[in-house]
Symmetry: C2
């Protein structure tokens, strides 16, 4: 039951919440022991703050839940490949696993040859199409 | 009067405030029209949050002051070269200028070949020794 797809669907619900607010539709959840301990969706416009990406909020929220700043036994499910800022934050967090929906060839961290923590496993391509369509449709409508 | 050294001294005061809290002593200020509009010092331990770097807090605070998320007419003075996360945030902010005290060869963004926004000017080596000594003394004492 608790497949990667299951939790990515929860991340997609977060992305939909961002979309409803006219935000770029990106969402994520952080899971520990098959339980969602933090959620986040992009709020850069609402909060007037370039740092208010889904991942940043979820990292802060998960650390708050755990009562410690390291997310060693946690997995992040995120609908779009994290940017440089979020990859840097994930590296500091020492998170165990990052599961990515769609790739972001231009702004994502992977093509920039950035490493997360050496112990962090990265999985890509979970519900890739659903995650990708959401972002592409948003920008198409904006133009 | 309003030299780079003047504002870097204010960033150093922020770094001292971090040190007083047993935090890694890094501080910054953001200046617009020769006026400090935001300050920040490292609070990762106090807040149990890897994202609570001096720069991240100051970027959020400056955007809040301005009432907009872009820091186009602003200069950040920071005692230590920003990490990947903070460099990513600075890139999103489109800040005009980043003035750096000491370099961080290992964890700083420059050696990782990361770019800030194309229009962002970067200046290094302002009060380099004072900025560097503060961090080095902190880690020496920790060991």
């Amino acid at each position: 039951m608790f497949s990667h797809e299951y939790f990515m669907k929860m991340a997609l619900l977060e992305a939909e919440a961002a979309k409803d607010l006219q935000e770029v539709p990106i969402g994520c959840v952080i899971v520990m022991n098959e339980r969602v301990i933090a959620r986040g969706h992009n709020l850069t416009e609402q909060l007037n703050d370039v740092t208010a990406h889904a991942e940043m909020q979820a990292i802060t929220s998960a650390a708050n839940f755990i009562g410690g700043k390291y997310l060693k036994d946690c997995t992040m499910y995120v609908t779009l490949e994290p940017c440089v800022m979020c990859a840097g934050a994930l590296a500091w967090s020492q998170i165990s696993k990052v599961v990515i929906g769609a790739r972001d060839e231009k702004r994502g961290f992977i093509n920039k040859k950035l490493q997360l923590h050496p112990k962090t496993e990265i999985i890509t391509g979970i519900l890739e199409n659903e995650c990708s369509v959401l972002v592409k449709a948003f920008f198409k409508e904006k133009r």
